[in-house]
Amino acid sequence: MNRPIVLSAAAALLIAGAVAAHSTKPVRQAPTAPVNPVVDAGTRAAARDSDIVLFERRLVEDPASAADRSRLATLYLRRARETGNFVDVERATREARQSLRLREGHNQATYGILASALLAQHDFVGALAAARALAADAPESAANQSLLGEVLLELGQYDQAATVFTLAEREPATLGTAPRLARWYELTGRMDRARAMARYALRLSAARDDLTPEQHAWYLMRTGDLEAKHGAASVADSLYQAGLVVNPDDYRLLSARARLAASQGRWRDVVSLGESAISTQLEPGTLGLLREAWLALGDSAQAESYAHAMTASALTQPGPIHRAWGLHLVDHGERLDEVLSRVRREQRTREDVYGYDLEAWTLHAMGRDAEAWRAAERAVSQQTEDALLWYHAGVIAAATQRDQLARDYLGRALQLNPSFSVRGVAHAKALLSGLPAAASSGKSG
């Protein structure tokens, strides 16, 4: 911790270059000359905090300053990203709202801050209103359009998202648009374009000397996540490790490495990485990974303590269930009624493919396969190249005697990522081998 980041920027560049070199598609050239100041993480955090104190004090003296409230909201959001402190997200929301109450004119960018803060709180409807206000103010702005598109993706409004991303896509990609475009491509079955766009964003970020280590690390993580989904585990892990050089102890990267290790059955590594991650930020998905790892390692007491922790914390909270934790519960046949109830409640306002996937998988675990199939069809409706979605849909297709579709979907899952999950891969292969030959298939779907 607290090491200079000169090496880290170099590492980011090296990785960015390495990934670009392995690219199957040309990406636009990005400038390459990152120069980061030699400032250690502790100094940077202290400076950030002193800025927060500065703006808090200024607002005591002049509470009607919309600009200062907006800047303070931005700083709170930054700290939330860097520390995982949820209270800072709430503070950012409050300051952004107050700033907009004070002044809307020449303050539209604050809608972007508000949208980001509301997204972080899973208030997708509120985020949509803020993003729409921002986009309406400057419809020609690709960054504004892509923020709106990002929110629409979260809400599962894919047609509307396509409309705004098509507009955003006409402009040269920037750091403000490239990650969101990558997400759109990822969710709509264009993984190669998503990976190329993520690499491009990574190169853009590596060339910037005004980003924080946390920001550099995030671009590395996103690129790694797409490589992991593509089945390129070693490339993904290299990107994650480069991110940890840039931003040591980054809990998101540690969790990402733990996920990758879990997909390969490296359970000791899952424990080591996951425990390091939760030392900074207790995150439901990582707790699920740790429970899985301890079960695989035969330590039921440790596994139970992680399950117990989740019961005591995340599951007692109102609002949407954490998707990864929901899937974890379903995989263990636990709290199925509760998971279903919560995911369906969320679907009243949010109809994204991952919500349908969780609904489908839960219904399947409950033996309600006919209903599960309807949800599974919607989960794969965007052709999202995520092996887990196709695996779930394939299992449900098999359970409903849609043998040809089961073969197609399970085969697609294995083709997309041959190591998406230790248990899932084994199950998919077993199901495939047990399905009747194509000629004698059942329902076609």
Partner: protein, 162 residues
Amino acid sequence: MSRMRSLVVGLALTCAAAQPLLAHPLHTAMAELRLATDGTLTLKVRAFSDDFSAAVSRATRSPVLSDYRVDDEAVLRYVSSTLTVEVQGRAIPLVLSSQRRDGDVTWLELRAVGVTSLKGATVRNGLLMEMHADQVNIVKAQYDGRSFTTLFSRADSPKQLP
């Protein structure tokens, strides 16, 4: 954690905002035990300052000072009553060696001497549990060349280190 300068603020509008932050607020406080070969036991505690100062104030009837600071003696009383380390059935007496703020976070460092081993010791991290029903705390223990992490929620009894 409990929900746990550059003035380049315009930057966030363009690129930082492109990084989705999807948070699930979990209340947690972290304690890290480290036993050195000379028998010095160091306990580092991390908690969010607002929650922590409120908890200390409530438990010890001491005032919260400016900037969420609380008196060292009150801190020690509170921590000693909620975070316990017992070796062979005997509570290890800890001494507060430092209390510092890092942004929203308070870091404490406590020490004890003459601890021969943590193997078989029992620990419980009940910090802030009286504040939040959903509090989940972490204890990370490093001793004898190994590392062991365990979690605590309200209903949990002390746990034995392997």
